[in-house]
């Protein structure tokens, strides 16, 4: 299926509304992850994957100690930090990047906390970022952040992991905004040769308790796996598999080719 390009008015609209409307149009959702500040052309990469069929883009703001990330994203983060990237410089560059799709930022709590939660939320909003993902802030600790984020109209995506009992999943899905990030496996980010059985399982469990978009991330590594995850999920987040290509020097064109390939597989599904 084809969709008309996103109208400019939709940019900066809330992530969840955007994803819901695309889902309603029968589309499977694709959110690539790009490490902010890795490579001089990283903003071009964001635009390229958006043009290649992403429904939103997740931009990583590198942290020195990314405990939820495997070797690929660790490496890209380290290189970005070594090149001088800061949360400030990344948001500056995102501002006016004109990607044409909603942007979400993924970072760790200390980055937000150190800047100041209110300030960080308003900086995100000011840079045109709709949503935030803080993978080391579980439900019990998220209150201070969601208060700041809600006030700035920044949506807080929450992770739902296979280890959560049903009652906990329900509470997570109720508090999440933007989408529910269903963690596809027990483990950290990184490409895997096959989709874990837990991927469709956790997607199904989430979808049973929420009508928010449910995207599977962590360990979704290629077009076939994305399609398989989307037999149950509303969409996928693809991180390490894309960043591996960037680390290999494929640049915006290579990133776009990969995303287009996944897009085509999802649309053919």
């Amino acid at each position: 299926m084809t969709l008309t390009p996103t109208a400019p008015e939709a940019v900066g609209a809330q992530l969840e509304a955007h994803l819901r409307s695309r889902r309603a149009a029968g589309r499977k959702l694709l959110v690539p992850y790009v490490t902010g500040g890795y490579g001089d052309d990283w903003v071009d990469v964001v635009r390229a994957v958006a043009d290649a069929g992403a429904d939103a883009v997740e931009v990583g703001v590198p942290f020195s100690d990314p405990v939820m990330d495997g070797p690929t994203i660790q490496r890209a983060s380290e290189l970005a930090l070594a090149a001088g990237a800061t949360p400030g410089s990344i948001l500056d560059q995102l501002h006016g990047s004109d990607a044409g799709v909603p942007l979400a930022v993924m970072t760790y709590y200390n980055i937000a906390d150190h800047w100041g939660l209110e300030r960080f939320a308003s900086e995100l909003a000011g840079a045109g970022v709709c949503a935030a993902i803080l993978p080391d802030v579980p439900l019990e600790e998220v209150g201070p952040w969601t208060a700041a984020a809600d006030a700035a109209a920044v949506e807080t995506v929450l992770l739902a992991a296979p280890t959560a009992p049903d009652a906990r999943l329900e509470r997570i899905c109720a508090r999440a905004r933007g989408f529910v990030y269903a963690v596809g496996l027990l483990g950290v980010t990184g490409a895997r040769s096959a989709l874990a059985a837990t991927a469709t399982e956790i997607a199904g469990r989430c979808k049973a308790v929420t009508d928010r978009p449910v995207l599977v991330g962590v360990g979704v590594s290629d077009a076939a796996q994305a399609r398989q995850a989307c037999t149950v999920a509303d969409g996928v987040v693809i991180g390490s598999a894309l960043v591996d290509r960037l680390l290999a020097g494929e640049g915006p064109d290579g990133a776009a080719r990969f995303v287009a390939e996944v897009r085509a597989a999802l649309d053919a599904g």
């Binding site: 942290f63 020195s64 100690d65 990314p66 405990v67 939820m68 495997g70 070797p71 660790q74 380290e78 930090l81 800061t86 949360p87 400030g88 709590y109 200390n110 980055i111 906390d113 150190h114 800047w115 993978p135 080391d136 802030v137 579980p138 439900l139 019990e140 600790e141 929450l158 992770l159 739902a160 992991a161 296979p162 280890t163 959560a164 009992p165 906990r168 997570i172 963690v183 496996l185 027990l186 483990g187 950290v188």
Partner: protein
């Protein structure tokens, strides 16, 4: 003046010590932390569990550890120096107290594998030891830099049947070993217990590890009462310990927090989280943390692998804020001096970590004049002899006739 009304309390479901602590972990680990907290709460009030742990501490680890009065050094310094001899425990440091408790708890929870981080290798050796004792498998993460400077302990861990995996990212020291251990646990949480080595990390670790080291302070309190009781209230004037994550320090502090004793934690100048950090969140809790202007965690730099850590346990941050403990800093050069002083004057080769606390005593001997000072000698120096051989080679050569 020390405030004897302060208490080290149960931090509750939220795991808070004032503003510090909490449970900042990936969602995957939350149920595991909750399960661990519930298991520890149940075990800690279960007489059968306590008896099994106490038996192991006595018959296997060699507790109680003695209290040694340093007559020669006391005379030289013009004070009364007492050592709590955690260096005499099985495996050579205080770490075994915590590890035996966690390993028993892990077994009770049906876990078959232990994963741990280690800096100096003492916690790794202790964990490998407990795993061997209880027939569990064990993986220890250690920074590449530390693998090099603590080669002997790496060999020990392997001898004990543990797998030692290098942490090769970031500063390649303790901080990165913690990252790797947490990543491992995220992937293996079903059958694996993360045997964290200090009073840091997500709730319930800071509290649980403190409770498991409380035995140091409880013993020392009774030993001081016996030794000093005739002359006064049986309490030393000052209680001091080195602080990396802060487990040996909180262990001995817990026996004296409700007394008039002054509590002094000693940090390495290159890793002084309380002394030079600002509150932040890493490795599961909020605490003082060395970080840059954007909140990136800085690399610590210390001669001692066990203290080479940019954070500190949250309860220490709280003790500092409420003023019940104070935190001093010493340089590597002062530590090298203290390491030799204790060796030559008392015939006790200390680990580099507790040599930090002695280094502070040497520097502060004027302030401490005439007072009774209890130092937690958290470990023995065997592991550091190789490293110190290089450091001291020139100096010893010069002294040769």
């Amino acid at each position: 003046m020390a405030d004897p009304t302060v208490r080290l309390t149960d931090p509750g479901d939220a795991g808070r010590f004032g503003d510090f602590g909490g449970r900042y972990v990936p969602e995957t680990l939350v149920p595991a932390c909750q399960e661990l907290e519930a298991a520890f709460r149940a075990a800690w009030v279960d007489p059968a569990f306590r008896r099994e742990l106490d038996d192991l501490l006595r018959d296997y680890a060699g507790r109680p550890s003695p209290l040694t009065e340093c007559h020669r050094l006391s005379e030289q310094l013009g004070l009364r120096l007492l050592l709590k001899r955690e260096d005499l425990n099985h495996t050579g440091s205080h770490k075994i107290n915590n590890v035996l408790g966690q390993a028993l708890l892990a077994r009770r929870m049906g876990k078959t594998r232990l994963v741990a981080e280690t800096g100096a290798g003492q916690h790794g050796v202790a964990t490998a030891t407990a795993a061997a004792l209880l027939g569990m498998t064990c993986t220890v993460y250690m920074g590449e830099v530390d693998i090099e400077r603590q080669a002997l302990n790496v060999f020990r861990m392997r001898l004990l049947g543990a797998e030692v995996r290098p942490a090769s990212s970031g500063s390649r020291t303790l901080k990165d070993a913690v990252n790797e251990a947490m990543r491992d646990w995220v992937a293996t949480v079903g059958d694996t217990h993360y045997c964290l080595g200090s009073v840091m990390g997500p709730h319930p670790y800071p509290w649980m590890v403190r409770e498991l080291h409380r035995v140091i302070g409880d013993e020392a309190r009774a030993q001081c009462a016996a030794l000093l009781g005739a002359d006064g209230d049986g309490v030393p004037d000052v209680v001091t310990a080195c602080v990396g994550g802060g487990s040996n320090a909180i262990g001995i502090f817990s026996g004296f927090v409700d007394t008039r004793a002054e509590l002094v934690g000693v940090e390495p100048a290159g890793g002084a989280a309380v002394g030079r950090g600002v509150p932040g969140v890493v490795h599961g809790s909020r605490s003082y943390l060395l970080q840059d202007e954007w909140g990136q965690v800085l690399e610590a730099e210390s001669i001692s692998a066990g203290l080479d850590y940019p954070g500190v346990g949250p309860e220490h941050s709280w003790l500092a804020d409420v003023g019940r403990a104070r935190y001093e800093q010493v340089t590597d050069a002062e530590v090298i001096e203290a390491f030799q002083v204790l060796s030559r004057t008392e015939g006790i080769i200390p680990a580099l970590e507790p040599a930090h606390a002695l280094a502070w005593i040497l520097r502060a001997s004027d302030e401490l004049s005439g007072r009774t000072v209890l130092l937690n000698l958290s470990g023995r120096g065997d592991k550091d002899v190789g490293q110190m051989m290089d450091v001291l080679a020139d100096r010893l050569a010069e002294e040769r006739p």
